[in-house]
């Protein structure tokens, strides 16, 4: 695609240039780990998922058509992978809930990845925790659209392409997620109760 240097790199990789793939990995690895961490909140697991995404990118590269921007191609793979991971986690949580006796309350702080790390506590942990709780509350499609928009910086058009949906649908997903976010993050806004 014209004006997309990453797309040029992927096309170079299609032609056998292994260094081009290495450059793409170096450019996008950190953002990909951060993206995956919004779904699992476990740095080690997020790294595994990000590696999975790049393995899939490596496999899918021969099918890449330069009509799509590289970023949407990459985040389409990543979004599908993270949503599958989310669904696997929800299924496991439902299995655990069925296995747990009714009189035993669920200990939310004991759930994997939900406890704030010392680093989070030290650096605006309350806000980070509020965002985690917010993301957990969002339906999965809203969650992935919100993360792609607010944290990965994708445009509505790029998100629509990544999620294989229409721009009006993305507009609606992001609006609904943003309304929920505005309520959840109000205490952290200027004039709110909490300023981290």
């Amino acid at each position: 695609m014209v004006g997309d240097p990453d797309a040029e790199l992927l096309l170079a990789f299609q032609r056998g240039d292994a260094a081009a793939f290495r450059t793409l990995f170096e450019r996008h690895a950190r953002a990909m780990v951060a993206f995956c961490n919004h779904f699992v909140r476990n740095p080690a697991r997020a790294e595994e998922l990000a590696q999975d995404v790049f393995l899939k990118l490596h496999q899918a590269a021969p099918r890449y058509q330069p009509t799509a921007r590289f970023k949407t191609f990459l985040y389409r793979i990543a979004s599908n992978h993270c949503l599958n991971e989310l669904r696997r986690g929800e299924q496991a949580a439902r299995r655990d809930a069925r296995a747990r006796p009714d009189d035993e309350p669920e200990d939310l702080d004991a759930l994997p990845g939900s406890a704030p790390t010392p680093e989070q506590e030290a650096a605006g942990g309350a806000l980070a925790r509020a965002v985690e709780v917010l993301l957990d509350r969002l339906p999965e499609k809203q969650r992935v659209a919100f993360v792609l928009c607010r944290f990965q910086g994708l445009s509505y058009e790029e998100i629509a392409a990544a999620l294989d949906t229409s721009v009006p649908a993305v507009k609606s997903l992001i609006h609904r997620a943003t309304v929920t976010a505005a309520e959840a993050l109000a205490p952290f806004a200027p004039g709110g109760e909490v300023l981290s």
Binding site: F54, L127, V179, E183, L185, F188, A189, S196
Partner: protein
């Protein structure tokens, strides 16, 4: 007056087309409620800018990735075979079995004909000739009376 909803979020995100943006901004100029909603939403979203930066991947992240990639590529032929769906494998297996059957039957027939050629003397026995499936009864009769026929000038 129709208030703005989705358009408000899209306006904050700079995702409106010029004509739509003008329409929404005109509404905001006249509607204190929507202006307040816009300011609340924008302020809450601005809080996201104060989130701590995401951590760097741990040391060795890239090396671990390339080690996984190398393992995956080494396993690729076996993995590819395992991933072949049965709907493709089943017809292949059936075609293979049919071909083996045709070849097997052909070989057996050739073997049988070679055996007969090598053991023509055995076929002087009418019982043995009768035991061969595709021999007509009159042929068995001929073999049974070979002596008489051989004596015939």
């Amino acid at each position: 007056m129709t208030h703005v909803g989705e358009e408000l979020t899209a306006l904050i995100d700079g995702a409106l087309a010029p004509a739509e943006r003008e329409r929404v901004e005109a509404h905001l100029a006249a509607c204190a409620g929507c202006r307040a909603a816009r300011d609340r939403t924008a302020a809450a979203l601005a809080a996201l800018d104060r989130l701590p930066a995401p951590p760097e991947p741990s040391p060795g992240f890239e090396q671990r990735f390339y080690a996984r990639l190398a393992r995956q590529r080494a396993d690729a032929p076996r993995g590819a075979l395992r991933r072949l769906p049965w709907r493709f494998l089943a017809p292949l297996a059936a075609a293979g079995a049919a071909a083996a059957l045709v070849v097997g039957v052909g070989l057996r027939e050739r073997h049988r004909q070679a055996f007969i050629a090598d053991h023509l003397d055995l076929f002087e026995s009418p019982e043995l000739v009768a035991s061969v499936g595709d021999v007509a009864p009159q042929d068995v009769e001929v073999v049974a009376h070979l002596d008489e026929l051989e004596g015939t000038p």
